[in-house]
């Protein structure tokens, strides 16, 4: 800070900290409990039959509520529909230091993808759409679901290639996201 009141405008950083308590919603809590047991679950819309995993508690297309009656299990393997390699930007709270790959994965038995999933055991230049992958489960006592129900929390530490032949473009063309 300067005492010179006639000088140029000066700025000083002020870090603002706010605490939020996120209550895990019941749909995400049930999903997280199943994850801890090694199961990936979803809701099948009773109207259009689309399977959402993770479940939302409703089908946003049909505007129909979904619940325990609509519960289904999907596989812990599927295919990469899209991906990117990130060079982490160093903002406050960022823990990543090295380049890493995130992918959208279409699980067998689900109609929508799970986004921003970490890829492991694959060189970054061999990642491709259609690549078949399977979940690398964290040890049972380290599986904590996402508090907001967005993804898989820490239950799945990453996804690795299964070695199966790639899925054809028709399998991922409609699942860019």
């Amino acid at each position: 800070m300067s005492d010179d009141t006639d000088g140029p405008v000066r700025f000083m950083p002020q870090l603002i900290g706010l605490d939020y308590t996120i209550r895990t919603n019941p749909v995400a809590a049930a999903f997280g409990a199943a994850l801890a047991e090694g199961h990936i679950t979803g809701h099948r819309c009773p109207s259009c039959q689309r399977v959402y995993a993770p479940p939302k508690g409703y089908c946003p297309i049909c505007c129909v509520a979904t619940g325990a009656d609509d519960l289904v299990e999907v596989a812990d393997r599927g295919l990469i529909t899209s991906w990117t390699v990130l060079t982490p930007i160093q903002y406050a709270g960022q823990k990543e230091r090295e380049d890493y790959a995130l992918a959208s994965i279409l699980l067998d038995g689900a109609d929508g993808t799970i986004g921003q999933q970490r890829l492991t055991d694959v060189p970054l230049d061999e990642i491709r759409m259609g690549l078949r992958v399977e979940a690398v489960w964290a040890p049972p006592d380290e599986r904590v679901g996402d508090d907001r129900g967005y993804g898989l929390g820490t239950a799945v530490s990453g996804w690795r290639p299964t070695g199966e032949p790639d899925a054809p473009p028709s399998a991922y063309q409609d699942h860019t996201l």
Binding site: Q14, L18, D19, Y58, P60, C63, A65, R148
Partner: protein
């Protein structure tokens, strides 16, 4: 102006600390408002919502709320980071164009995730006021003091208690022209809707006069005919007194107050003013919304039933 009426209203009410996501909380409320109107979802020509990212604790929180509307196929939709009453205002403006006859306004707020005494400090001037962490309750105390000094409220009402915060959602369906009567036995016609702001700096305001509310009420025509019921976004006793004066409401006017849930309260008050006409046979009511510390920004909506 084109005649526009509220034909349907639904709200979750003020909920303590919901576990549901904002979208999950909104979902049944929007569906209920649409079902009550009897209008097919696909007939809604414009949708506008109100919410605040800082309550959700997530940027772009409103984006997820689209899932509660049914935004596929794509819809004509907008959002204000304001109380839902301003979303209703934007939708009312859109209905004036003539090409769209049905609009949905909704809003949601989850205050229970954070400490509003902290979060609302971020509404203050970031350079000179925010670093003081002057919370809304403390600032309301200044206004209560001014009101007491002017003899407007008893000394006992100068102790400002911070009411518990709550969560909630609300949705309103508006229809233009004769179709409002076709879908609703007793629609509430919007005869005037206006909003105004006061300066942010309390030092340049006369805190005993909520000038913005007075100007909005005059422009909306509150005083053009008797008002039976007024629904006011007042969090404290002194705010009710100041708003009554600003809106020109005499002692004969039945007033209901409350400022909860944040971001939803104003839309709920307009919805309740609709209910007074639609369900309770009143003829002329007022709904009011407020935003900011010490009633800085105010919106007034005058509703009338068919004679």
């Amino acid at each position: 102006m084109r005649d526009v009426a509220i034909v349907s209203f639904a709200t979750s009410g003020a909920l303590p600390a919901v576990e549901d996501t904002e979208t999950q909380m909104l979902f049944p409320v929007i569906s209920e408002a649409i079902e009550r109107s009897g209008i097919p979802r696909a007939d809604i020509g414009f949708t506008c919502s109100g919410s605040a990212d800082y309550l959700a604790g997530t940027p772009f929180a409103f984006v997820g709320n689209l899932e509660a509307v049914g935004a596929w196929p794509p819809i004509s939709e907008s959002h204000v980071d304001m109380d839902g009453a301003w979303a209703l205002y934007e939708a009312w403006v859109r209905l004036q164009h003539g090409d769209v006859d049905v609009a949905l306004a909704f809003s949601s707020g989850i205050s229970s995730r954070s400490d509003l005494r902290e979060v609302l400090c971020l509404q203050n001037d970031p350079y000179y006021l925010m670093p003081l962490w002057a919370d809304h309750g403390s600032l309301a105390g200044l206004q209560a003091r001014a009101a007491a000094d002017a003899g407007l409220i008893p000394e006992a009402d100068t102790t400002v208690a911070t009411p518990p915060s709550s969560d909630g959602a609300a949705a309103v369906i508006m229809v233009a022209g004769d179709r409002a009567r076709e879908v609703c036995e007793r629609p509430a016609w919007i005869r005037g809707i206006e909003h105004r702001s006061d300066p942010h700096y309390l030092g340049v305001r006369d805190l005993t006069d909520v000038a913005s509310a007075r100007l909005a009420a005059e422009a909306a025509g509150v005083g053009d005919a008797p008002v039976e019921v007024a629904e006011l976004s007042a969090a404290h006793p002194h705010e009710e007194v100041l708003l009554r004066r600003a809106l020109g409401l005499g002692d004969e006017v039945e007033v209901h107050t409350g400022a909860d849930p944040l971001m939803v309260s104003g839309l709920v008050h307009i919805g309740e003013a609709f209910r007074q006409i639609n369900e309770h046979g009143r003829q002329r009511t007022v709904g009011h919304a407020s935003s900011g510390a010490c009633l800085q920004q105010n919106l007034v909506c005058v509703l009338e039933g068919d004679a």
